[in-house]
């Protein structure tokens, strides 16, 4: 290259740089970012606002929730978890004071973002008034619902309704807020619901967004909680704080119950849309299970849901984790949640009486059944809608074409049992030489994970769609936050507490008729025990039991840390304070005695699974979850919970 050419290139390059470098500084610094959407742009377009709102919806809190996994459905002796590493649920002797808590940093970050959303939506000038009002109401709904979740756990918490900003001057005192009274929290939730209910659409077909019915359902539940804390809190005077952060005066109970009844009746009367109980399938058990599966417009029972979509990345693994072992879609994932006999036996007989599962006759001799299903005959249809029982084959095929092979072994004439730890290990029965299978492919086998250990699998929420048990596909069964049957039960409880058992019976009987009861309960038969019982069986595994037992102050009786024996298990069924500290199982055995007419029939035994070594003990300090030392160190105005 000669010298002149070199200079030419150098000159050309300088020229290029000079030209591009000539943008004015002020312009250069004004380039709009293309990876961040500024606030004013965001709140100018309803589609963009909805995407912000979608994130806020995804971060809702619930006790049981598919996003938090199967663990949030476990515990409280309603089930045993068949998974190595999860036996703590049945081996611990109680719960720490911090159990069921949330991370306050994440919680108040979420609340701040909700406050920012509400403020920015209010300040927007480019949205139509209708959009703006609906978004605002949805933001306020999510905020009230979240404060409700915090209140359930902690009682009063700092009630912060504006976004706050630190001034970096070294003194954060102005950001430290004390806990509100527990009653103020509930008053806030109720007043928010009242304020926004008419801004929200009375639209049933958009259930994953807040609707008028969702606001009313939240109001009814919150007011009911407040009423029962006021009424039953009087039985545990130790569970209160002098400042009212925990505990509500008993004088407020009726007022709250009245608000709960009014809000629930508003939904029942159709003010928020034509909601009704799901009655579609002829088999009442299948119908009950389908409430949780049917996302079509036919389902007018679910009110507010978190939805999922198969093959979209927005799925959950509840079916993968809990499907029966013998028909699992994933070789090493199944059967974690095994409902307990405690729960199973609490499903009533269809003549409105309570009875233990009949394993022995009056003389204490075992009853021989022709078919394992016969022992569950004549019970509440919700039993088979909630729980998969041994060899359930009405349908005729219950789960993905399979009959569940649940049996614990052969029972011989001398009372001994032939069994094995694995269905593939075959054994020859006495007097024979042919080896046969001696335990069910689905269990029950003590200590073998993913097989049932109680004799039951969970059916509620289990997705029968082909492939839904695979990890790669996942299930898209929705999570129902609020449904119409709970609204009816809330109304029934509120009416009962207000001294109107006639109205209560009217609501509770609707739920019971759907479960197959043909004889209605009379107003005189509506008792507190009935209310407690009905919620337990209707709402099993829906995340209610802990808060119900807390607000009724029954938790310290039901989970009192005392071990249970067989006669405890069989007695007092349907009584509100019935002790349930350990999950029991019901194991079917095949009777083997060729000389007996009972040969080949089925015998059942109540079994305390060997993994159950602990007893659940709920102490007074568990009624309100511990607030972390880090939180109280950062904000000395936060008072400690009682009894901790």
């Amino acid at each position: 290259m000669n010298v002149s050419k070199k200079y030419f290139y150098l000159f050309a390059m300088t020229l290029v740089l000079g030209v591009t470098g000539c943008t004015k500084d002020s312009d250069f610094l004004e380039i709009p970012p293309n990876s961040i959407i500024p606030t004013e742009t965001m709140f100018s377009d309803p589609a963009l606002v909805l995407s912000v709102l979608g994130d806020l919806y995804n971060r809702q809190l619930d006790f049981s929730n598919f996003d938090q996994g199967w663990g949030s459905f476990a515990d409280f002796s309603e089930s045993l978890i068949s998974d190595d590493g999860a036996y703590g649920y049945v081996q611990n002797t109680g719960w720490g004071y911090g159990a069921w808590g949330v991370d306050w940093k994440a919680a108040y970050t979420y609340i701040r973002e909700l406050n920012l959303f509400i403020e920015r939506d209010s300040a927007s000038t480019k949205l139509t008034d209708a959009d703006k009002a609906r978004f605002l109401a949805e933001g306020r709904f999510l905020r009230a619902n979240y404060y409700f979740e915090l209140t359930k756990r902690y009682g009063g918490v700092p009630l912060i309704l504006h976004s706050e900003t630190y001034d970096y001057k070294g003194d954060p005192t102005y950001l430290q807020h004390p806990r509100a009274k527990e009653s103020d929290m509930y008053d806030f939730i109720i007043s928010e619901a009242e304020a926004i209910k008419d801004q929200l659409p009375a639209n049933q077909n958009d259930k994953s967004r807040a609707s008028k019915a969702a606001a009313l359902a939240m109001e009814a539940r919150a007011a009911l909680y407040a009423g029962s804390i006021a009424k039953y809190g009087a039985t545990t005077p130790a569970v209160s704080l002098p400042g009212g952060e925990v505990g509500i005066p008993a004088s407020k109970a009726n007022d709250y119950y009245q608000k709960a009844l009014t809000a629930a009746q508003s939904i029942i009367n159709g003010d928020a849309g034509p909601y009704k109980l799901y009655k579609v399938l002829p088999d009442l058990s299948d119908n009950f299970a389908a409430i949780f599966l049917d996302k079509s417009s036919v389902n007018q029972e679910s009110i507010f849901i978190t939805d999922y979509k198969a093959l979209s990345g927005r799925t959950h693994s509840f079916t993968t984790n809990n499907q029966p072992f013998s028909v699992t879609d994933e070789p090493d994932d199944a059967g974690r949640i095994d409902p307990s006999l405690n729960l199973v036996e609490s499903f009533e007989m269809l003549d409105n009486t309570f009875a233990p599962i009949p394993t022995v006759d009056g003389g204490g001799n075992p009853i021989y059944y022709d078919h394992p299903q016969d022992i569950f005959a004549g019970r509440d249809a919700r039993l088979r809608g909630t729980v998969m029982t041994p060899f359930d084959q009405a349908d005729p095929y219950r789960y993905k074409g399979a009959v569940l092979d649940i049996w614990a072994g052969y029972l011989l004439a001398d009372g001994s049992v032939v069994t094995s730890g694995n269905a593939a290990d075959q054994v020859a029965l006495p007097g024979t030489t042919t080896k046969v299978q001696v335990v069910g492919k689905d269990g029950p086998i003590n200590g073998v994970r993913y097989h049932t250990q109680t004799g039951f699998y969970i059916r509620k929420f289990i997705d029968p769609t082909i492939g839904s048990g695979r990890r790669g596909r996942g299930s898209d069964v929705p999570w129902i936050h609020y449904r119409y049957a709970e609204v009816l039960l809330n109304a029934a409880e509120a009416a009962f507490e207000l001294g109107d058992p006639g109205t209560a019976a009217g609501y509770i009987n609707q739920v019971r008729q759907r479960a197959g009861f043909t004889t209605d309960l009379t107003p005189a038969e509506i008792t507190f025990d009935r209310i407690v019982h009905e919620r337990r069986v209707e709402l099993a595994f829906e995340g209610h039991i802990l808060y119900d037992m807390r607000r009724w102050r029954l938790a310290t009786s039901v989970w009192d840390g005392t071990a249970t024996n067989l006669s405890d298990l069989r007695s007092n069924i349907g009584t509100a304070g019935k002790r349930s500290t350990q999950p029991w199982g019901l194991w079917p055995y095949r009777y083997y005695n060729p000389a007996s007419p009972n040969n080949g029939k089925w015998v059942f035994r109540e079994v305390l699974p060997s993994k159950v070594t602990g007893t659940n003990r709920f102490t007074l300090g568990n009624y309100y979850t511990f607030i972390g030392d880090d939180v109280r160190a950062a904000n000395p105005k936060i008072v400690k919970q009682p009894n901790q």
Binding site: P237, A238, L620, R632, A633, K640, N643
Partner: protein
């Protein structure tokens, strides 16, 4: 393969060298221990159920060192020397703990220079006295008396029940037992002479002794008062 060993040796040598730095602090060595006492009587509770908390100020954040009492009513902490404040949180224990004017637990100042024994004087609602527990022919019998300590009507509480617990191991309480007998408070005719009897079920493996003690549940108080554990041989 030979080379592999060399790498392993080198790795171990590195690990050993890196691990050799001295720790910054010695482990806490001062033992603070003590028992729950009332006028010379020790008070038994259920193990790990009655908490106590130690606070040490001056390090910024405030959080307690948590401990619990053993079933004999004893506690112990391994601590660094320093100034501590000890409390029993409100609503814990079958006894009254002094409160300050605001209703918060009054603290006991502990100046710890070395190991120290600190018995905590508390006022129990009741005392179980004169306990004699004996066994024979598959049963355990306890005779004891109950004395009401807090008689002020503002704070006094009734007896909900007394219970005789028996267990295979030395841990005996409502959570740890193989057999028990309850007697409701209303059924106590003579508090100075109460007798309870419990049948001991067969144990696997069979053992010729059990542990037993008597518990007293106070109405409206979560924690029970217990008599000392007795080993009963028969």
């Amino acid at each position: 393969m030979k080379r592999n060993y060399r790498y392993i040796l080198l790795f171990l040598a590195c690990g050993a060298a890196a691990a050799c730095s001295k720790d910054n602090y010695k482990a806490p060595a001062a033992i603070l221990k003590g028992r729950l006492m009332y006028k010379g009587d020790s008070i038994g509770v259920e193990r790990n159920q009655v908490p106590l908390q130690l606070y040490q100020y001056g390090f910024g954040k405030i959080g307690p060192i948590n401990g619990t009492f053993s079933q004999e009513g004893a506690f112990s902490f391994s601590l660094f020397a320093g100034d501590y404040k000890l409390i029993i949180p409100n609503g814990q224990g079958p006894f009254l703990w002094n409160l300050d004017a605001n209703g918060n637990p009054d603290s006991v100042d502990v100046v710890l220079k070395g190991s120290q024994t600190l018995d905590l004087e508390v006022t129990p609602y009741y005392l179980i006295k004169n306990t004699s527990i004996s066994g024979g022919s598959g049963a355990v019998t306890a005779n004891f008396s109950v004395t009401k300590v807090i008689n002020d009507p503002a704070t006094a509480k009734d007896i909900e029940r007394v219970t005789l617990y028996v267990n295979k191991t030395q841990f005996v309480s409502g959570a740890d037992n193989i057999a028990k007998t309850d007697l409701a408070g209303a059924g106590i005719t003579d508090p100075s002479n109460i007798s309870l009897n419990v049948t001991v079920p067969a144990t696997y493996p069979a053992q010729s002794y059990v542990y037993a003690r008597v518990g007293l549940k106070i109405a409206g108080v979560e924690d029970m008062i217990f008599s000392p554990v007795v080993k009963v041989t028969y």
